[in-house]
Symmetry: C2
Subunit: 333 residues, 2 copies
């Protein structure tokens, strides 16, 4: 191989939204493949709000080091292999990073997983409904142990995770209300996904609309946003409600973390469970099987926003925080 | 009876600490006892931070109405009865209010409970270790399902509830670290109550001391305070830690509620459970029996700060927020 590899390198830690130059596009020749290595051509990259977090702070992973290829989850195909476990044509998902080619060896092998070719289904499902978002929604919606007829409110409901969490809520028999940032998103939620109601939080009277859409209060909050949206939802929660704290994206691009009051949690005896899907890794296959069945039988619908070109990834990350995407946001490399 | 009844009436809702006149002492003649009524002489009044909350907002009880006798839990003795269920000499605990005499009839009867005379034990235990504080600590410490060897941190640890919660933590086999506001309080916690460590949060280096006292991190937080103290504790919590959110007293005298970040809850996958003891009312007798045994066998120690005179109750309430009491704060009427 004498191909070049284009990569997005973390050059500086963003303050708010990503500024030009925080991620820098570089080109370098691909090194010759050594024994024990496989070369994967990255086809699709998953754009996730957590990437913004990885740019600045340690979480369950250390923050990406300045000068390193930006961490990202992707779908790739093996195009050359000197590793016994991989052969040309194998398809994998895993932490490819924001680059055109990824090299897999034993040191990173456990970050990758082979995936099958499913007839009539786009490979991108492994980044969305059958991937990290589907798994997050699946395990997240186990936590509250929803009872039939309870009211579930999902924030960032038109996002990749929220849209699935809400549909799982319907499968579980909940009344499901989504919060999203445009009438188009809300219409998708109610008309296509079967949400009982959807509220556009950019309308000045959205709090009244949320109240009207949750006449019996809110029993479960699948929370992705934090800040004022979370506050408003908590205020309408019923005693002994459960909050699945999956994301706080309204704070990810702010210097200060989003501050909310624990007072409501106390007075309403809520249970707030912080949640990161990685803890459920041992059950991913079980969940993916269930998600796949639901998808096959039309119980789970998904939608993608696809941005073309690795060089567009920084803008794509920003879209997650400005509301630019509906459903799963993917960069096609 | 032609005795007069002294009462503390809520005249205005306090902004910060209680100001003179928020509770106004009044004297009025006791009305003649009617059929179906019993007259109770209030002996001791329990001073609890939640009283400050009752003065301003609805919780599980409506806020006290302006002009009403201030709500308070107390110990009283029946001195005259025209109610079939009470006889002279009966001893009760319940919502007596901040007054010298309370009239019990069927409309308020369920707010009162008869208590026995226990040899060698002060009647005030029914307001503390065998009362609302003991029950709160008992049920609150059921929530985290502590495992032997886990580290428990209790804030407001020298208060009536915190001091018992910490001792129950010891009974459960935890390493117990208390946070309190003076060296004297800390010394009581470690020397008398058997806490493994106690940190005076008024020392400038208290955060380093907390870190040193929790070398394996913190697994359980029995939280009574909120604000900076809670933040500091959450920062040291281990993954999958549990927070029993029992009180947020640092915010009770502020116009703004205490604001804390949910970010740590998410990243560390903590479980925060809002908790009010009233939900466990059906099991109070079971808990009081256990608490009584522990006390009898010396496994639970308590301490009281007693203030004499009903008219001192407003100052006593303020003491709860300025750190003036050690252990249970009681007004002797």
């Amino acid at each position: 191989m004498t191909a070049t590899n284009r990569q997005l390198i973390l050059k500086s830690r963003p303050k708010g939204l990503l500024a030009p130059g925080d991620l820098q596009l570089t080109e370098s020749p691909l090194p010759e493949l050594k024994g024990g290595q496989a070369l994967a051509k990255v086809k699709y990259l998953s754009m996730d709000p957590t990437m913004r977090v990885w740019m600045v702070v340690d979480t369950y992973f250390p923050a990406v080091a300045i000068g390193d290829v930006m961490r990202a989850f992707g779908f790739a195909e093996i195009i050359e292999s000197r590793h016994p476990d991989y052969k040309k044509g194998d398809r994998v998902t895993g932490f490819t990073g924001l680059q055109e080619y990824a090299i897999i060896d034993d040191s990173v092998k456990r970050q990758f997983q082979k995936v099958p070719k499913i007839p009539f289904v786009s490979d991108t499902v492994f980044l969305g409904v059958l991937g990290i978002n589907g798994l997050t929604a699946f395990f997240g919606m186990e936590i509250p142990q929803a009872k039939k007829g309870e009211t579930l409110v999902v924030s960032a409901a038109a996002g990749a995770t929220g849209s699935i969490a809400g549909q799982i809520g319907k499968i579980q028999g909940c009344r499901v209300v989504g919060i999203a940032g445009s009438d188009e998103k809300c219409s998708w939620l109610t008309k296509d996904l079967g949400f009982d109601a959807a509220i556009n939080y950019k309308l000045s009277n959205w709090k009244e609309k949320l109240a009207a859409a949750t006449p019996s209060g809110i029993d479960i909050n699948f929370e992705n946003v934090g800040g004022d949206i979370m506050h408003t939802v908590l205020d309408r929660m019923n005693l002994f409600g459960r909050v699945v704290l999956c994301g706080l994206i309204s704070g990810y691009t702010k210097g200060d973390p989003g501050l909310e009051s624990f007072g409501t949690v106390l007075v309403k005896r809520l249970r707030v469970q912080g949640f990161i899907v990685i803890d459920f890794a041992s059950r991913f296959m079980e969940a993916a099987t269930q998600l796949g069945q639901w998808k096959m039988f039309g119980k789970l619908k998904d939608r993608e926003t696809i941005v073309e070109g690795l060089e567009k990834a920084p803008d794509a990350i920003n879209m997650l925080f400005t509301g630019g995407n509906i459903g799963k946001l993917i960069v096609k490399v």
